[in-house]
Amino acid sequence: MARNIPSGPPPPPPVQKLRLRYTKRGRLRFTSHRDIARAFERALRRAQVPMAYSAGFSPHPKISWVGAAPTGVASEAEYVEISVAERVDLVRLQQALDESLPAGIDITEVVEAPLGSNLPDRIEASDWSILLPGVSLDTAQQAVSQFLTAAEIPVERLMKQGLRTLDARAAVVRMSAAGDQDCATLSVVVRHVTPAVRPDDVLSGLRSVADLAPPMPPQATRLAQGPLSETGEVSDPLAPDRPSPEGPGATRAGADLEQVAAGSPS
């Protein structure tokens, strides 16, 4: 009985919830999600962010992750939510945390989460850019059209449960190719389904329907993730959290902070 209650007062409750957008660039793309999570926890401590903690014998800082790009894949649009036990200044928090994180994990935006709103619900699809060094635009375009005309493209992936087959085609909302003779770039919008269809699976699909075999390792980058419009566009999931000129809302920290501040009634 008594052993399940740690001595001392419970940790202070959260008073503010923040949404952070961050990147995973360059060499940091080789981190796994767990690596990022550990780096974040330590950076939060070094930056002295007054985190709210869970109660119990093993208190954990209140951090919730929204999706996560797979190991080896870069991203310009990753999201995490944190809860703090003291209200913080968003601009200073962004600066302090960004300085504490390794170069490549960069905090690009911090907003306050309005009560009762749910970020994971807004994440419906991702916009990927996949660089194919050594693949010509013609070859890529041909492969793309073959991919898009297929009704179903079963691909295999090794997961914790063993080799699983999933349909790479069904989750792809749109796909196009650009580039030149030496290097093509695919632009792909993929709906978030379970199990997730990842850039690797799309490439497996292209190999399976069109024998596309890049001579050098492709490099995938998530450009955006968020709500999916009817026209197949991925929009900004933090847009609803930003203060609008029409009414008061949460403050926002970011590159264009001054503009937002100037535009809001004070």
Binding site: A2, R27, L28, R34, D35, S58, P61, R92, L93, A96
Partner: protein, 640 residues
Amino acid sequence: MPVESLFPRLEPLLPTVSKPIQYVGGELNSQVKDWDETDVRWALMYPDAYEVGLPNQGVMILYEVLNEQPRTLAERTYSVWPDMAAKMREAGVPQFTVDGHRPVKDFDVLGISFSTELGYTNMIEALDLAGIPLHARDRDESHPIVLAGGHAAFNPEPIADFLDAAVLGDGEQAVLEMTAVIRQAKLDGADREETLLRLARAGGVYVPRFYDVDYLPDGRIARVVPNRPDVPFRVHKRTVMDLDEWPYPKQPLVPLAETVHERMSVEIFRGCTRGCRFCQAGMITRPVRERSLTGIGEMVKTGLEATGYEEVGLLSLSSADHSEIGEVAKGLADRYEGTQTSLSLPSTRVDAFNIDLAQELSRNGRRSGLTFAPEGGSERLRKVINKMVSKQDLVDTVTAAYSAGWRQVKLYFMVGLPTETDEDVLEIAEMARDVIRAGRQATGTRDVRCTVSIGGFVPKPHTPFQWASQLDHETTDRRLKLLRNAINDDRSTAKAIGYRYHDGKPGIVEGLLSRGDRRIGAVIEQVWRDGGRFDGWSEHFSYERWMEAATKVGVDVSWYTTREREESEVLPWDHLDSGLDKEWLWSDWQDALAEQDLDDCRWIPCFDCGVCPQMGTDIQIGPTGKTLLPLTVVKNPLSV
């Protein structure tokens, strides 16, 4: 000449290998110095996977000590997994450092830290991947000096063919002195032989090629003698005396990849004089030198600020023995009250004082596990190994832990100790049962558990057991099975007792490498040629590969392992001086056989083990009588 980073050639390989982040570098507090602004350059290697090697304190300390010198550069390299090694060979990418991704071959020194002998095949693999000739005799001025350090360097004879040099003991001052000698040798245009001679003559550096080994017709060593003038007959170990003057690491490395120790460590003292006769670490690191209470406080503070870790390990060979451990625990727990920072003592003694300490230390954060190490199953055997803990002590201590809220403790024992019988081992089961029964009674619940964890005993050089016969693996395995049956036989406690052990075969290979001589080098090389790597990992280790290799090169493994040595035998490491007097070691071995215990020289008069007079050192312990002042609390810089 600038040395180019190999990263552009490495990067295309990374998406195709497991855990690529371990090869990327960029750890917090790591640094990449300008190659051309330095003139002595060290590649420091821990010969195991990154996840094991990165947290190694020895490498971290030397990395920082060397890099603090303006004209000296140090980078780190670790063993690459076999999947990566295959890709590197295919693409022609050599062994690289993780800091600047520079080729290991281009450094002046490749310093390898051996905590265990099971890293020897990984050293050969790294040399081969680096493009450095495996044998020291085949290297020229363009190759790094291959240097061994760490506990296994106290008998480097099995790897003498592959080494240019070895350093015994504490490395902090040794690496700086070596750097100065190498710098001067480079300025003078000295050749490889001359540089090594200078190092050997400067003292404290063992250069195997300058010593000849003669053998008797029966295979024993006749003598080991220097073959150059002015090279010392015996090479002495190095001892750092004032730990407060060496507060390293100041800026501990924090990796992105997951590693085996996710915490910051502060070494609270070095050395141990408890005198456990099986313990090589306790013998070769004498005397005890404590870091002061205030020195510890300062290191914890700077380390936490530099890393963001939420756990601090207070390291030493027996941390509860620090003369001011109570004040350390209370002072730190007070300082970090309410900050979710937990403190832990990785090695614990069997007495109730420990439970109070553990409670104090876990006051602010996560509660760590408790491990107690009676080591020997019977009272008689504990006298043989000089681990003076009674069964009642253990039952009382563990019961106190259960009463204080712990529900699970780990008990560590060894099997294969000298003079051990089946009965000694079976007493382990009895001890575990008594612990569970007492725990149930004290807590009024059946919800108490213990795990019995067994390690196989391997006789080590520079210990009283260096003459002992190692138990053969068949008997080890038979005793392990007897013990398992005995634990399972009592149905009322069987489910509350966990049982963990390893079979006896890896211990025999470790024994061969620990007490081997120069003739063992051929076995190690053969094992590597037959594909042996990562011998410390059960999924990579192959006993058969080792035995076949020994047969191929004509080495009788049992002669090195299960054979008991006589007092008069010249041991392969006799010319390497750990400070311990060989006569004292022999008399302690005789005391062991007579089941005579010996107390700790911190609280009884000196018993002449030889270390202090030989090395010009002395015990350094407190109490200092000082206290840790609270840290000043300032307003959170981010709050509004």
